[in-house]
């Protein structure tokens, strides 16, 4: 309104976000004249709000109404007329040399980690990570911000390699990391509502790099799942510009932000076409699909007579639903209840929910699990996009270590032939 329409404007934001707005003015170069009533404004009585209006701005001590009137009538100062955006400085490629101990502390104290131990990104380690792709180190991959309005940070293949090293990845994981970075999507957006994200890998790369899609796929028992999911978080922090209380405002946060429910789909044991095929990709393509929401609930069969009814237990939880279901569930749904295509199931659920859904296309099913319980993980996550991984894989194939690092593979013997293992 100020610039485009020439209308003097008095924006009002609750005092809890005063710092946020002042920084926003500095980064955008417009010295808007904010008035800050006390926080919270929502979910309080009329009497409280009347008191706010008749009271003072807790930041400035000036009566709220005087401040609003002044914002609209007090002539612009020379400083306001000359106000310029505060430009962020370019980053140097290398940090000042220091001892490993000091650098480790520096990374933690600067908020460049998730608080867990990292691998320091030395030039040698980053160079090794870069062998995981044919793309040039200086190639631009994308840009990202956890905020909706602030400056995006851009990043190269090398910068992504730095993140991958920090997360503990090996070069075989790097194509997945680059695909995540190419999406430009942070896993932990700024929103006060504490978003959670999820990533699911489909296609041949799942098995080539040893991802877990079976027993315990969402648990910390698989190296690839763990380090790849973590890399998306470290990427969001460093390339998406997470600064707690400044750009990152999630009020409670969520532990899902640590690993982003990183897993692969159990294509081998699923009776349905793989998720990415249903989204238009070929089975032999390797991709990563991204989701975002808030709520996660574990659902068992007990309260329902039919398998499909389990989906309705989260009715009202959201406007989108993504269900991770054990292969046993998919088999039940297909063999006993006739859902040979999960799209039909999405349509049935949308019809039964009768809540403000975005439609059947907002209801997705992914098969994950080890066939030891017909279990569901129900989320209100919205499907965002599927990103191809193949363009980031070297022409010679995935760069594996001579002896790839693998955690113990869950015992999945289904016929007793492997016998008891003590």
């Amino acid at each position: 309104m100020e610039n485009d329409y020439g209308i003097p404007t008095a924006p009002i934001v609750s005092a809890r976000f005063a710092d946020y707005m002042e920084r926003d003015c500095q980064s955008h170069g417009v010295p808007l004249r904010y008035t800050y009533p006390p926080y919270p404004v929502g979910w309080v009585s009329r009497e409280v709000l009347k008191g706010y209006v008749q009271g003072n701005d807790p930041i400035t001590g000036i009566p709220i109404t005087d401040e609003i009137i002044n914002a609209l009538t007090k002539p612009l100062t020379d400083a306001e007329k000359a106000f310029k955006a505060r430009k962020r400085p370019e980053r140097q490629r290398l940090l000042e040399p220091d001892t490993e101990e000091n650098l480790y502390r520096l990374f933690i104290e600067n908020g460049w980690t998730d608080g867990l131990p990292i691998i320091l990104p030395t030039e040698e380690r980053v160079a090794e990570m870069l062998t995981g792709t044919d793309h040039a180190p200086h190639e631009q991959v994308g840009m990202m911000s956890v905020t909706t309005n602030e400056e995006r940070l851009k990043y190269t293949v090398e910068k992504c390699a730095v993140i991958a090293v920090m997360a503990g990845c090996r070069p075989e994981h790097f194509p997945v990391i680059l695909a995540l970075a190419a999406s430009g999507r942070p896993s932990m957006p700024s929103s006060t509502t504490s978003f959670a994200s999820m990533m699911v890998v489909n296609g041949p790369i799942r098995n080539e790099i040893g991802m877990n899609s079976g027993l315990g796929a969402l648990s910390p028992i698989n190296f690839a799942n763990s380090v790849i999911g973590r890399a998306w978080t470290l990427m969001s922090i460093n390339l998406g510009d997470v600064r707690p209380g400044v750009t990152f405002m999630a009020t409670t946060g969520t532990t899902i932000n640590y690993n982003n429910m990183c897993c692969a789909e159990n294509e081998e044991d699923s009776v349905w076409a793989p998720f990415h095929v249903r989204k238009g990709f070929k089975k032999e393509q390797s991709v990563v699909s991204l989701f975002r929401g808030w709520n996660v609930r574990m659902l068992g069969m007990a309260p329902t007579k039919t398998t499909r009814e389990v989906a309705l237990q989260v009715k009202g939880m959201g406007r989108s639903y993504t269900y991770l279901i054990d292969p046993l569930v998919a088999k039940n749904l297909k063999d006993r209840e006739g859902f040979d295509d999960p799209v039909k199931l999405s349509e049935w659920v949308a019809g039964e929910m009768k809540t403000p859904l975005r439609g059947p296309e907002a209801i997705n099913f992914i098969v994950v699990g080890g066939e030891v319980n017909p279990f569901w993980v129900a989320t209100d996550f919205n499907y965002l996009q599927t990103v191809p991984i193949d363009p980031w894989i070297p022409s010679a194939g995935i760069k594996k270590d001579a002896r790839p690092i693998r955690m113990p593979v869950p015992v999945t013997c289904k016929d007793g032939s492997c016998g008891l293992q003590l």
Binding site: E2, P8, A10, G42, K87
Partner: protein, 125 residues
């Protein structure tokens, strides 16, 4: 342990590209969507200007525009009540944004341009 090593900076580079409010026909989800959210540039932002202020609000029309955050409507209604009792010479017009907190609403802006002299937006956060 005292040997110095060199490591790379993990933080991304400033791009000069900013997120921008959504177009009127954008889905709300696009505000978190890097492929669909409109962008702004540092150059464009650098040229933005504040509007000249009014000499007085007496005899003027002030739009009170509520963004759809909890309590915003009620707060601005209380503000409107205050104006009617304490500054009766100021005409206030209450409006609610229809398209969400992040979406441009050019029809409303045009109405304010044609019929108003100033605008109060609230309440964020």
């Amino acid at each position: 342990m005292d040997k110095k090593i060199t490591v790379l900076d993990p933080v991304g580079q400033p791009s000069g590209i900013f997120g921008k409010r959504l177009n009127a026909d954008s889905p709300m989800s696009a505000i978190h969507d890097p492929t669909n959210q409109p962008r702004d540039t540092a150059e464009n932002l650098g040229s933005l200007k504040m509007a000249e202020r009014l000499d007085t609000l007496e005899g003027k029309t002030v739009y009170l525009v509520s963004i759809p955050f909890a309590g915003s409507k009620e707060f601005l209604e209380e503000l409107q009540d205050w104006f009617s009792k304490n500054r009766p010479g100021v005409k206030t017009v209450f409006r609610e944004k229809k398209l969400g907190w992040a979406t441009d609403e050019p029809e409303l802006w045009q109405e304010i341009k044609e019929n108003g002299d100033a605008v109060v937006f609230g309440v964020g956060g």
